[in-house]
């Protein structure tokens, strides 16, 4: 294990440079990105634990039955591996510590889940080391652990990704936290595996060994049941009471992580709202309260968030699907709002095809504000409903070939 530690810690240090958390200024995201490194740490721990399992079995042959209970022998062999797991987890956390001044601290729930998962890998590895010849057990534990932590991410039903908590790595924006169901399910799964491993190691007859698998299966079943309602995202919305909101309509709420840039955010939002108002756009109810997903949003992110709140989300399960023009209309609406909010055409091309931006630019220079507004409102109405064959007549006047007809 002395040999495994430098290899593991070196790998982590090398790869940590290649990957960034979802938001480097948010403790939860900085903690959650550490789950990515489970695919290194877990196989290393499982391999070391399998080696410890082999050593305890070798003692059984060489010395005879131990006085201590098999669980105590197991703990005695495995705690150094646990030290390795804690060291690796600590190194990962240290590599991603946010800038000083970031409010809060490491997300204890995510860290605890991570360590519990590592304990499960250690326990399972030890059991494999007790059950198989060492030349097979160590590679089996390494590869099995690697596949469990990695291959699940490529598999289809979402619960496979959730019960191992391995897809937490791109959690979370400032508006989100790790879903409690996912953390809880991962803990239940891990505890089930640990209990099974302990029972398998201490069982003396074959029937008891087979029966020892049951807690693991039960844990898996409960974990799957917990996360079954979730879709792919392992996140939950953050409680708005943590944010600080202004009075007025719409409210502007800033998270503790955005405290240093709160004044800039407020000023930008007021400016954009004033521009929207002078163009005649009403605040949608969906805009209240306005929050931003990044810890230090720039002007473009602020406008993009507000535009996203203004435009309706596409209706689900449309019988005719979504024809090309539906997305064209959406892109033109977005670019019109971008330009109205005072961004330049180059920025608008980040969200819309250049010809759509060009058409909207031509429209803005040739149409009266009232005509533009009625075009915009017709567009919002069209986006809200399922598309029916042809685009509404009011929208057809802006053609893709450029400019109003």
């Amino acid at each position: 294990m002395i040999w495994v530690a430098p290899v593991l810690l070196g790998l982590i240090a090398i790869y940590a440079g290649d990957t960034q958390p979802e938001d480097g200024g948010y403790w939860t995201a900085a903690t959650a990105v550490g789950t990515l490194f489970l695919s290194f740490t877990a196989p290393a721990c499982a391999a070391c634990a399998a080696w410890e399992g082999f050593r305890s079995r070798r003692l059984l042959h060489a010395v005879g039955n131990p006085v201590r209970s098999s669980t105590r022998v197991m703990v005695g062999g495995c705690w150094p591996v646990g030290v390795l797991a804690v060291t690796a987890t600590g190194l990962v956390l240290w590599l991603y510590v946010p800038e000083p001044g970031t409010p809060g601290g490491p997300d204890v729930a995510i860290l605890g889940t991570e360590l519990l998962i590592l304990c499960a890998h250690i326990a399972a590895g030890y059991a494999v080391g007790r059950a198989f010849p060492v030349v097979i057990a160590v590679p089996l534990a390494t590869m099995g652990s690697f596949l469990v932590t990695t291959a699940g991410l490529g598999l289809e039903p979402a619960w496979i990704r959730h019960i191992g908590a391995t897809n937490l790595y791109n959690c979370c924006t400032v508006e989100e936290i790790a879903a409690p169901e996912v953390l809880f399910a991962a803990c239940v799964f891990a505890v089930g595996v640990i209990v099974s491993a302990v029972l398998i190691v201490s069982a003396r007859v074959l029937v008891a060994r087979v029966a020892a698998v049951l807690p693991g299966l039960a844990g898996t079943a409960i974990a799957v049941w917990l996360v079954l309602p979730l879709d792919w995202e392992p996140t939950a919305p953050r409680d708005l009471s943590a944010a600080e909101c202004t009075d007025g309509t719409p409210r502007v709420c800033t998270w503790p992580e955005q405290e240093s840039s709160a004044d800039t955010i407020q000023a930008s939002v007021t400016d954009v709202l004033a521009r929207f108002e002078s163009a005649g756009i009403r605040y949608a109810d969906s805009m209240d309260p306005i929050t931003f997903a990044h810890s230090s949003p720039g002007r473009i992110e602020i406008v993009a968030t507000m535009v996203g709140a203004l435009l309706p989300t596409e209706p689900a399960d449309c019988p005719l699907g979504y024809p090309e023009w539906y997305f064209d209309v959406h892109e033109r609406m977005s670019s019109w709002l971008y330009l109205t909010a005072g961004l330049d055409a180059g920025t608008a091309e980040g969200v819309a095809a250049p010809e759509n931006v060009e058409a909207v630019r031509a429209m803005r220079s040739e149409w009266s504000p009232a005509e533009q507004l009625s075009w915009y409102e017709a567009g919002v109405d069209a986006l809200r409903e399922c598309p029916q064959g042809e685009p509404p007549a009011a929208l057809r006047s802006v053609t893709a070939s450029g400019g109003p007809s």
């Binding site: 160590v138 590679p139 590869m143």
Partner: protein
């Protein structure tokens, strides 16, 4: 001879090797999608590339079941017996492949045999240098290393680097040459009396 076979448990490994050919043929081109989280590319590990590592890992278990000090002084040469048993294992795979030929591609099955031979040779060479346990761990990781670092995403279909022989198709002469070279090296190093056998595994465990 029958005592030797029983003591070494070769039958288990030979049966497993034959089963692997069947499994690889049935699963065919199934792949394990391993998201390479750090580059954002999904690396597809074909099951038929990973499976031959199983019998290859078992070979060192078979060969480690004797007592090295006793075997060094044996009248018969266990090294040669072991190499013959490995040859029998590969022959069992070829026979299985031939039996499966009416239903599955014989050439693809032969690629599985080639990979088994390559993995066995690799782990035999490594086990004398770094010990059997670490040798098997390295050997099992080799397919993943090949997929992760040996796949070239050029224009068109992804190709494999010259050294990533497990990924090559059955007709690749470069892969075959590498595997044969490894086999010769493995045979030489297994028979070498001057290189101590490393183990740390007492008999019966």
């Amino acid at each position: 001879m029958s005592w030797y076979m029983a003591a070494r448990c070769w039958v288990v490994s030979i049966a497993a090797a034959a089963m692997i050919v069947v499994a690889a043929a049935v699963f065919g081109s199934a792949t394990l999608e391993l998201p390479d989280l750090f580059s954002g590319v999904v690396i597809a590990l074909p099951v038929s590339v990973l499976l031959p590592a199983v019998p290859a890992a078992m070979v060192l278990w078979n060969m480690g079941r004797g007592e090295p000090a006793h075997e060094a002084a044996a009248v018969r040469r266990p090294a040669e017996f072991d190499l013959a048993a490995v040859a029998a294992l590969l022959l069992a795979q070829v026979v299985t492949a031939a039996l499966l030929a009416p239903w599955f591609s014989f050439a693809d099955s032969l690629a599985v045999v080639r990979n088994t031979a390559g993995y066995v040779a690799l782990t035999l060479v490594l086990s004398r240098l770094i010990g059997p346990v670490v040798a098997n761990v390295v050997m099992v990781m080799f397919p993943i290393i090949c997929v992760r670092f040996g796949t070239i995403y050029a224009a068109g279909a992804p190709a494999s680097a010259w050294w990533a022989w497990p990924l090559d198709t059955h007709s690749s002469l470069v892969a075959l040459t590498q595997v044969l070279t490894l086999c010769v090296a493995a045979a030489a190093i297994t028979r070498a009396a001057w290189l101590p056998r490393r183990r740390g595994v007492p008999a019966g465990t």
